[in-house]
Each structure stands twice: as C-alpha cells, then as structure tokens.
Amino acid sequence: MKKRTLQRGLSAFWWLTLIFLYLPLAVVVFFSFNAANSAARFTGFSLRWYERLLGNEQIISAFWNSMVLAIVSAVLALVIGCLLGYGMYRHRHRKLGWLIVLIYLPIVLPDIVFGISEMAFFVSIHRYTGLLQPGLLTMIISHVTFQIPFVALIVYSRLVGLDPTLFEAAKDLYATPFKRAWHFLLPTIKPALISAFFLSFTLSIDDFVISFFTSGPESATLPIYIWGAIKKGVTPEINAIAALMIGAVAIAALMSLLFNRQGQR
C-alpha cells in the first residue's frame, strides 16, 4: 500500500519534471507561430516569422557559417582525434599520464576560460604577425580543440574493447600495415567513427561561448546571431529560428533512438 503511494508520487514528479524540461522549448515553438510580436499573448496562427527568416540575409549567412564550422571542424577533429585515439591504444602500456592530462584539459576547462584564452591568444598573434585574424578560421581551430578529446576517447574505448589478438591475426594473414589499416582497423571501428563525427558536429552546433569569443565580425553563427538579437532586444524572428533548431535536435534524438534500437537487435 505504502509502496503504491510512493510509486504514484514518483510518477507524478516525473511528469512534472518533464513539463519543467520541455516547457521553455514548447513556449519557443508555440510563439514562433504567433501572429503578434509577443511572447505573452497568442493572437493567432501565422507563418510570417518563418517567411521573414528566409528574407533575412544575416540569418542565412549565420546558418551557413554554423554549417561550415560544424562540418569542417568535425572532419578535422575526426582525423586528428582518430590518430590520437589509436596512438593512445597502441602505446597504452607506456606511461602516457601527460597525454591523459592533455586530453582531459579541454573537457574540464570552463567554457569561458577556454573562450577567452583562445581570444586573447588569437588577438595577440594577429596584432604582432597579422595571421589568424578572428573569424571562421579561428573558430574552426577552437572547435577542433574541444572536439579532439571526445573523438580520441570514443576511438580509444572502442579499440580497448577489441580482442588484441585480432591485430595479430591480421598480421598473420598476410596484411601489410596499409592493408591492416584499410581492411581491418577502419571497418572495425567504423561505428565509433560515425558516432564520434556526429558528437563533434553536435558539440559544434551547440557551442556558444567559445564561438562567441573567437568569432570575427563576419563569422557570426546562428547562436551568436540569436544572442546579439536578444541582447539588442530585437526578437521577432528568434522564436522561429530557435524553433527550427529545436526541430533539428528532435529529429536527431529520434534518429539516435532508432539507431540504438537497430544496434540492440
């Protein structure tokens, strides 16, 4: 009897928490269809904010900046991080403590410290050498920096989970070093590489603080544009862009659920 009550209470709490978690997102999506420019009163259904989005060149360019940043940085981080993860695995019997510290550094460093370090560094280098002007390039560099550890750790944990004699079997069966990499190593860690790429991509799209401090005047991404609009108090289309980004995340969540299901089967 008592247990029943506890379970019911917990269930109610669960649903309340879900409301708490999704209410802010729902509000954004809901008011993106509002005819009036208000987040308090809903005056009627309208798609005018979405129409205005398409006509806003700043938003379009911010969208492309976000995409280029996410894809280029994720690809670079995949290559560098994959090598790093493999190196960590191959030399795991050596003392690589310094490497572990190095890899965890980008993960534990507070975003804001990360961002301003990069900014101070890039600005000073630019001042003295003219190189690395803040812009898309500096943003890509910073994003790759925080993506590398995640890729390396994913690849490393996949490799550690493998039977080490598989590597020897490949050698034993006449595979040259290049063929071992191509016909054995890469196919074996392919799932890890795919998930590492998507994680890097998501981390990049999600980031605001580091992008904000390393961006230049021409390289605003969607979050930076949204931030600027909020700070200036000009927010008519913000609900619509935000709603689109939430939609993209919802689709990603569904995909990951489906992939997981398939993986379990």
Binding site: L18, L23, P24, L99, I103, I112, I116, F208, V209, L257
Partner: protein, 306 residues
Amino acid sequence: MVESSRMASRGRAVVGESRHLLFSVAPGATWIVVFLVLPSLYLMAVAFMTNGPYGLPQMPLTLNSFEQLAGFGFLGWSPGNLYTLLRSLWQTFLATVLVVIVAYPIAYYITTCRIKWRAIMLLLVVVPSWTNQVIRTFGWMNLLAPGTPLSDLAQWLGFIPPNMGLYPSNFAVTLGLVYNFLPFMVLPLYAAFEKLDTAQVQAAQDLYASPLRAFWHAVFPQTLPGLLAGTVLVAIPAFGMYVIPELLGGGKGMMLGNLVANQFAGGSNWPLGAAGAILMLIATFIGLFAMRRIGKRLGGGEEVVI
C-alpha cells in the same frame, strides 16, 4: 657480427615504435598544446601585466589586476567584485543542491520502470540539453517575462511588485542553472541506482524497521559515487557559467563568468579578466581534486564518462 646486426634491428624496431608514437599522437597532442595550453599560459601571464589602452595588456608586470579583482580601485575599496564572487559561490551551491533534490527521485524512478522504457526516459531527460544553451535560456526569458502567466501568478502571490517580470533576477538565474544541469546529475545517479545491490536493500529492510533507515544505511551509500560524479559535472561548469546570468540575471545577478567575460568582450581590462579566470581555474582544480580524494576514500574510484 651476427649478434651486432640483430641488435641493430632491435634498435630499428624501437625507433620505429617511437616514430609511430610521433605520427599518431603528435598531431592531436601538438594541436591541444598549441591551441589550448599555450593560450591558457598566455592568459595567466596576462593576469600579471598592466592594463593598457583598449584593455590590452602591457608591461611592466604587476599584481594590480588581482588588487582590482579584490575590489581596490581608484576610488578605494568597493565590495562589488566580492559580491559577485560570493554570489557565484552561493548560486553554484544552491543550484547543485536543488539539482540533487530533483534528480535523485527522477533517477530512482527511471530504474523502477521497465527496461525497454528506460533508454527512452533517459533520452527524454537529455534531449533538451542538446539544444543550444542560448535558445534554452531564451525560452525561460519568454516564460518569465512580465505579463506571462508565471509572472502574473508571482505578482498575485506578492513575490514581485506589479508590472515586473520574474526575470531579471537571481531567482531566474538559479532556475536557469537547475534547468541547464539537471541531466548531468540524472545520468550518473541513474548509473549508480542501476548497479544497486538489491539483496543489500532487502537485508536492510529486514534489519531496520523503518524504510527511511533502510534507505539511509543501504541505498544512500551505494549511490554516493554517482552523486559525487554528478556534483563535479554540475558544480564546476555552474561556477563558470556565463550565458545564463548574462541573460536572466541582469546587473544584480552577475556571476564570476560575466565579470571575466566583460573584461574581454567590452575590451576594458584584460588583466583583470585574466585574474578572474585564474580564480576560476583554481576553483575548478580544487573541486576536481577534492572530489577525487573523497571518491577514493569512498572506494568508488570510477571514471566519469560523459
């Protein structure tokens, strides 16, 4: 003669291994050193430099920025920065406690559900944190603005004066922090609950009359490693939070992150900002170190995987 050639080939193998280490590890390691370690060291150096025009650092070296951080300025001592620091500590503490209070029952509830639902429930908890922080915080701005149902309710209850919203306020910042970090606590706690030794719990229920005591003696200690991991994942980034206090806090809700960021974004005083960043770094490493020590004493020295 033969032996010496064998030794030579051994030598070649060792060189090959080292070269392999170089090719695989060096690009990533160099990248992090050049684009993160060096900038961080540079930032630390900046903290000891003099504030020049446009906030850019200059020689000579000085401890001036640390004095400024402690509140000593042209007009004598002012408590503003100290308040900001204390507020950061308080908000971090409050948010962490509240997150634990919400996450603990949630994590437990998920483990009582059927296995096929658990992955979906966890996903439901995590998905909001996949959307951009700015957008999530913007959602709360919409919810807490003047004239919204929540603000009207708060006015009717007399918490805030008429025609005001629930934001900007310290309350809004706390709410934003709890919202932001809830998943980071639910995941490790869930992992701890899932590993819970139910035999121990049943034995405790037999031994102790009250369920409360059974919980305290059998369940709670087993979830401590998860709780600790969650605390690290919540408290450290919360202490350095920038976006949430900037959007929801206003002038009186500022935290250390804002103090630091403003010195760079406004271009006013890099050395002061760098000094604040050092403070944040020290807090981060003290936090990590303390958790490690406590974690080791508890015997649950497991790595946290995010």
